[in-house]
């Protein structure tokens, strides 16, 4: 499916389900997401993680709502299943979408300005470097006799300076690689936006609306 439409679908659903209280629809979505992820061969370890995490947090939330609140059984089931829907929708999206294809699709199909699309992408590709940098900042401080905690301004100060330095460098490099803001570009790979994608997105959204309507108490 087209990545931009898939993103819109996931966000719309997550938003809508935050305000509705039909647990049967939640369960149907959970099953569909799970089936799709299995069909797209998401690793079993990933699936277990995607199940374990909401299991713990949803249980903890439901438990505290029971102890500290006056929620009905029906509402507790809704909250419990909702957490699973969130995580499964997120998992379905991240596990079946490649960031580069998403970027290209956002540029070509959603007409996001190229500076945003490729600016984001360039930064995302630095992720491993950023992870290593956080560890380095803490270690460098230790070697100078200082311990940095999450509440130490210096930790963030260093991170921000690094971010600034890297963004200067990267944007200069992109410009020197011929990238001009707002200029037309050709596309090495065209991301298709088929009628089928629209039908699939629209159709499934309508079905869910029907489900939500029928499921209303």
């Amino acid at each position: 499916m087209n990545p931009s439409l898939k993103l819109a679908w996931v966000v719309l659903l997550a938003l809508e389900l935050s305000f509705t209280q039909v647990w049967t629809v939640n369960v149907v979505l959970i099953v569909i997401c799970l089936a799709l992820m299995i069909w797209r061969r998401v690793a079993i370890k990933r699936l277990l993680w995607l199940t374990g995490v909401p299991l713990f947090f949803a249980s903890a939330l439901v438990w505290s709502l029971t102890l500290q609140g006056s929620a009905s059984h029906h509402f507790l089931i809704v909250i419990f299943t909702r957490m699973f829907v969130y995580v499964y929708l997120g998992g379905l999206f991240t596990q079946t979408t490649d960031p580069l294809t998403l970027t290209r699709s956002l540029e070509q199909n959603a007409h996001l300005p190229a500076k945003f699309a490729y600016g984001f992408l360039a930064a995302f590709n630095l992720m491993p470097k950023i992870k290593a940098e956080v560890a380095s900042i803490k270690a460098a401080a230790l070697m100078r006799g200082q311990v940095l905690h999450v509440w130490s301004p210096q930790l963030y100060f260093k991170a921000i300076l690094t971010a600034m330095h890297w963004s200067d460098q990267l944007s200069l490099a992109m410009v020197s690689h011929g990238f001009v803001e707002g200029a037309p570009r050709t596309h090495a790979a065209v991301i298709p936006l088929r009628h089928r994608d629209w039908w699939l997105t629209g159709g499934s959204l309508v079905l869910i609306q029907v489900g939500l309507f029928i499921g209303l108490p």
Binding site: F19, S70, Y156
Partner: protein
């Protein structure tokens, strides 16, 4: 009004990733805190205590980049990072990101993107707390808590957002302005 340029876009994204990674480094803290508080039915408190760190990307981006929408974009991207890193809230992080970002953005809107000082941060902390709390009423079903518990959650959240998004952010921007990388703040 200042427009978004390539450098700002990359900066806000890298910033968001840094904050996401720092948050992830303390990720175990969140899980441990949650696990410790859960049996007593206090798990949401873990959220509230640490929320301030999570929403810091907003005021920081707003302060550093000073373009309308910076705070919102900073938070939203932070959420994207969290989703890709496999955070516990899945797809809803994206919406929470926008909500939290808009919360801190309100602080900058109310000061007209002109004033970048204490007042801005305090207002921003307040709007963040109110906006995100309203969202929690729906999403996490906070509406069905007893009033007393709700008030406690709100207070803890405000303190956390104030300490991290206000006090700490101010200390950080002080360092930045001494290093001549952000314009002087009063």
């Amino acid at each position: 009004m200042k427009a978004w340029h390539l450098r700002d876009i990359i900066l806000v994204t890298i910033l968001a990733i840094f904050m996401g990674v720092i948050f992830f480094v303390i990720g175990p803290v969140y899980t441990i805190l949650s696990a410790a508080l859960a049996p007593a039915g206090l798990q949401p408190l873990a959220n509230e205590i640490l929320l301030g760190i999570w929403v810091m990307a907003g005021p920081l981006a707003g302060f550093i980049i000073r373009i309308p929408g910076a705070a919102t974009l900073g938070e939203l991207l932070g959420a994207v990072v969290e989703m890709f890193l496999g955070g516990v809230w899945g797809a809803s992080t994206l919406i929470s990101g926008v909500v939290q970002g808009f919360g801190s953005e309100l602080g900058f809107i109310l000061t007209g993107y002109k004033r970048y000082n204490w007042l801005t941060l305090v207002i921003s902390a307040l709007t963040t707390t109110i906006v995100t709390f309203t969202w929690s009423l729906f999403k996490e079903g906070y509406a069905s808590y007893h009033l007393g518990f709700l008030a406690m959650l709100f207070t803890v959240r405000f303190i956390s957002v104030f300490l991290f998004g206000g006090v700490l952010t101010k200390l950080i921007t002080n360092l930045l302005s001494r290093a001549h990388v952000v314009k002087n703040v009063r």
